[in-house]
């Protein structure tokens, strides 16, 4: 743990926590608002992903203190998560090809 982090740990972090808490409420409302707006799918997808990642980032950085940890730990946790993109990229095309095979039989629906 760096010297800064240690000093900050002893500090009263209540102000920081309450600020983050406030923004989490704002962003949650933002997500709900995007849903109510009935935006085009592409725009809604971008907004959903961006706001969800912002919320996750706030929780991880401040509530889970990742911002105050050593870079060794931060990188060890964050870099493997890149594989989640590979996971999605691996299975979504499969679903898409199933849809293409099914589509001719969907006429009645």
């Amino acid at each position: 743990m760096s010297v800064v982090a240690q000093a900050e740990h002893k500090h009263d972090l209540r102000r920081t926590y309450l600020t983050v808490w406030f923004w989490l409420f704002v962003l949650s409302f933002g997500l709900y608002f995007v849903d109510l707006m009935h935006l085009p799918t592409a725009l809604a997808t971008i907004l959903y992903t961006a706001i969800a990642l912002m919320k996750a980032g706030l929780i991880a950085a401040y509530f889970m203190h990742l911002r105050f940890e050593r870079l060794n730990l931060v990188y060890s946790i964050l870099f493997p998560l890149i594989l989640l993109i590979a996971l999605v990229a691996a299975v979504l095309p499969d679903g898409l090809s199933v849809l293409l095979h099914r589509q001719p039989f969907f006429e009645g629906r």
Binding site: R14, Y32, Y48, A52, I59, F63, R70, N72, I77, V98
Partner: protein, 227 residues
Amino acid sequence: MHSETQAAPLEEVLKSDWGGGKSPFGVSWGKLMMWLFILSDAFTFGGLLAGYGALRVTVGKWPDTNEIFAISLGGTKVPLLLIAIMTFILVSSSGWMALAVNAAYQRDRRNTVKYLLLVILFGLTFLSCQAYEWSKLIFHEGVRPWRVPSHPPFNGIVQFGACFFTLTGFHGLHVLSGVIYLSVIAARVAKGVYDRRGSYEAVEIAGLYWHFVDLVWVFIFTFFYLF
């Protein structure tokens, strides 16, 4: 270590951190293990969400979640009202958890227990909302993981039932485990176990788990309920 103004060559840095006799991550083993568990759990939920995405793509048309999870309020149907309330409950519980960890930093036993009890209360409220939602879908709408009604808004899309119960079930199980975990920690704080040990870190580690459960809900809320 951090005072050098000039950047050291990479080999030097690696040697100094990983050469032995040092703590490369700068955290206790308990905290490191919780982080590694969280990383593996992130892949569990990542896999479930990716699978849900793939299944949803195969059917082309998905049931309208706005309609399924709407609640009547004074005659008008408000879309996703219960889910929005559940989200706010979980975000609130995360805030109480942060305050509990903060009180633990100050070694303030009374406030730590107080905030932990609030987290547990909010967690139980969340679970009650989920129990209500599940029983409504199972007993009133007749939705099962393997069968859904053929009328709108479900239109017989069976993948909806499978994804709904798997995703929210896994998450709910995590919330339930968290409530039990935090109850144990709260009891130990109240008994003064951590005062005797001289470290309140157990509260912080439990907090990591609870915040992660909230973090996962962000994605389930966004990609299952809203999307």
